[in-house]
Amino acid sequence: MEKTATLDKVCLPIGKAKGLPNEHYTCSSVFQEEKDILLFAKWSGLAVSAEIPNIGDVVPIHFQGIPLFIVRTKENKVKVFQNTCRHRGMILIDKAKSIEGAIRCPYHSWCYSTDGNLISTPHVGGPGRNLHEEIDRSKLGLTEVRSHVWMGVIWINLSGNAPKFEDSMKELMDRWADFDRPLFHGGKESSFTIEIAANWKLAVENYCESYHLPWVHPGLNSYSKLEDHYHIEYKNKFSGQGTKVYQQLKDKDGNVFPDFSNLEAKWDTAAEYIAVYPNVLLGVHRDHAFAIILIPDSPEKTYEHIHLFYSQEDTPEHLRLKNSKQWRLVFDEDVPVVEGMQKGRHAVNFDGGRFSPVMDNPTHCFHYWVANEVQNGRIRKS
């Protein structure tokens, strides 16, 4: 049986380990299982807070089949709710819009405040009667999903029982404390989506290692060579790579983006690219950052939502466009190899593959996490 395939070999030391078996990339039941264990039980990326910049802004989002919406409340807080009325389960928000007053269900007009409280139940006690003794509004607020905004990303924990966000992400938040500040989304031209015909984990795996740079990103490799990179690994949390020779983007007159203020000196030339398990890929530089939110659609299809952020609200538009174009090129260069690995997972005798004990450490770190979590999840279930 596919689901009972042993994951022990994945968890061996890197020199002996094998990669995740094919079914973790191709099988619907394993996809569903990983959805619960890896996406719902952890802090997953959902969207960016820049999608709801103003008070009252609301955007419906489906996450793994679950209808949700994100809202900026009257108190200017970002919240995430299930997009269903507590009455008959009707979808409340059908398109992105601005809520002036209350969120009114289009079916029987039960009304909710933007912070989720049920504030009106028209005719619930009969015509002209908004009250009924059996209907306790205080217990019928919208179902809130735990959420937290960090690095511009709205993170959610659907199971509701992950450790607090700050505890789950402590090590990375400490590492990148310099970037824990307001990030300014670059606007429409600084967001784009890439659809890939591959399992979401392959996008993570490709992102977190630098081994492929000379072959897949020759443009990048011309100034940021393989030997200028270092691995970043934190067991069961995140992994990625850094470069020691980051060069700022310049226009023809030598203008660059303004730096984030008061960064440590190491960031003059360093940049880091980290996959935060399960589905967020982050990059930081002295003058900009980016977030890639991976939204798994099926075992073999994933959407990558990419957002670029800057140190100030008013950065030059021509530079932002140039930067978006440059990153788009880099991420597009990855698509054939990620999709190629997906195709390779249909080779029945492929055994998960072997890792370079020197170059593939961040990838193995991710495989280890997946295997370990899935095994533990199966034990809990059995």
Binding site: R104, P127, N130, L131
Partner: protein
């Protein structure tokens, strides 16, 4: 308003047009008008519930006053 507390034809037409135009603020006002004109308490509360609901959604300046109307008749708390 007829003898049964229903809004007159003209007001009813206006309400229908406002519904068609998705004009929530106008609708709130028209329902409130129907409520204030209604000689029948139950009918008045029916219309005021609609007025209050739309007022909540569209943040009508008279939302609180509509609420007080319902509260006075023990239809809100």
């Amino acid at each position: 308003m007829d003898a049964f507390g229903n809004p007159d034809e003209d007001l009813e037409k206006k309400i229908l047009v406002a519904h068609q135009n998705n004009d929530g603020l106008k609708l709130a006002e028209l329902y409130a008008e129907a409520a204030y004109n209604s000689p029948n308490k139950n009918k008045a509360c029916f219309f005021m519930v609609n007025a209050y609901t739309l007022a909540l959604e569209y943040k009508h300046p008279k939302t609180q006053s509509f609420f007080q109307f319902l509260k006075k008749h023990a239809r809100e708390n």
